[in-house]
């Protein structure tokens, strides 16, 4: 079972790499914001799977709940900047 979870982990990390391309090379800033949100969602799933591999899933669940609750605050902050200064 550990090998299956490790395989899923590596596959999700390769998907993170696809989102990282859009973070690094995105022509506008909105591309980067959406890609960071997608990376946050994948991160919290990889965290729970790491918890299964280590055998103590209840510890890693807490960190995942933090990301699930607070993923969108960064996007809100940048949107507030655009509201103050105008789209640029």
């Amino acid at each position: 079972m550990n090998t299956f979870f490790l395989g899923v982990d590596i596959f999700l990390s390769l998907l993170v790499f696809c989102c990282l391309y859009r973070v690094v090379c995105g022509p506008t800033i909105i591309d980067r914001m959406i890609a960071v949100g997608a990376i946050g969602t994948k991160t919290l799933i990889i965290l729970i799977l790491i918890g299964f591999i280590f055998g103590r899933v209840e510890m890693f669940m807490d960190i995942s709940i933090v990301y699930a609750l607070l993923n969108f605050v960064g996007t809100l902050a940048v949107a507030k900047y655009f509201e103050g200064k105008g789209e640029c």
């Binding site: 510890m59 807490d62 709940i65 933090v66 609750l69 607070l70 605050v73 809100l76 902050a77 507030k80």
Partner: protein, 168 residues
Amino acid sequence: MLTKIYENLIVKTICRIMIPFIQIYALYVIAHGHYSPGGGFQGGVILAAALALIFLAYGQEPVVRRLTPNLALSLCGIGVFIYAGTGLLCLLSGGNFLDYARLAPILGVAIPRARSLGIFGVEIGVGLAVMTAMYSIIIDVAGNSASPDRHAASSSPENLNNNAEPAA
């Protein structure tokens, strides 16, 4: 005009739903610090994040009206006082600093329970101090400019110009 009515409606509704859950989760993190990952500092930062969400969604005025900067700094001092006061109480009872076993005769419970309550008190103090400190920093850095009457007496531009003129 419709855009003026519905401006920020989605953000305000989502924040109104999410903020109580974030605050209850922060209290869970503070209370279970001795067993789960987390503790006083992490719970305090998550509480400050809930206040920052109100600041981002509704503007600066509602959150500053509820928790003024003076009250925030006073609560920060009270948090440090709870933390240091617990340690000092252990010191005054004849033990080392933060030696919770000496709290057992004062509280009237057994020694393991006194240690557990001592750790819990320290976590609450740290959580309060961290929450108010992070809140003050966010309001100072990302808020609209500092209140003008704090700096008017000492270093406003009018005073500097008036001091330069008699020499000229």
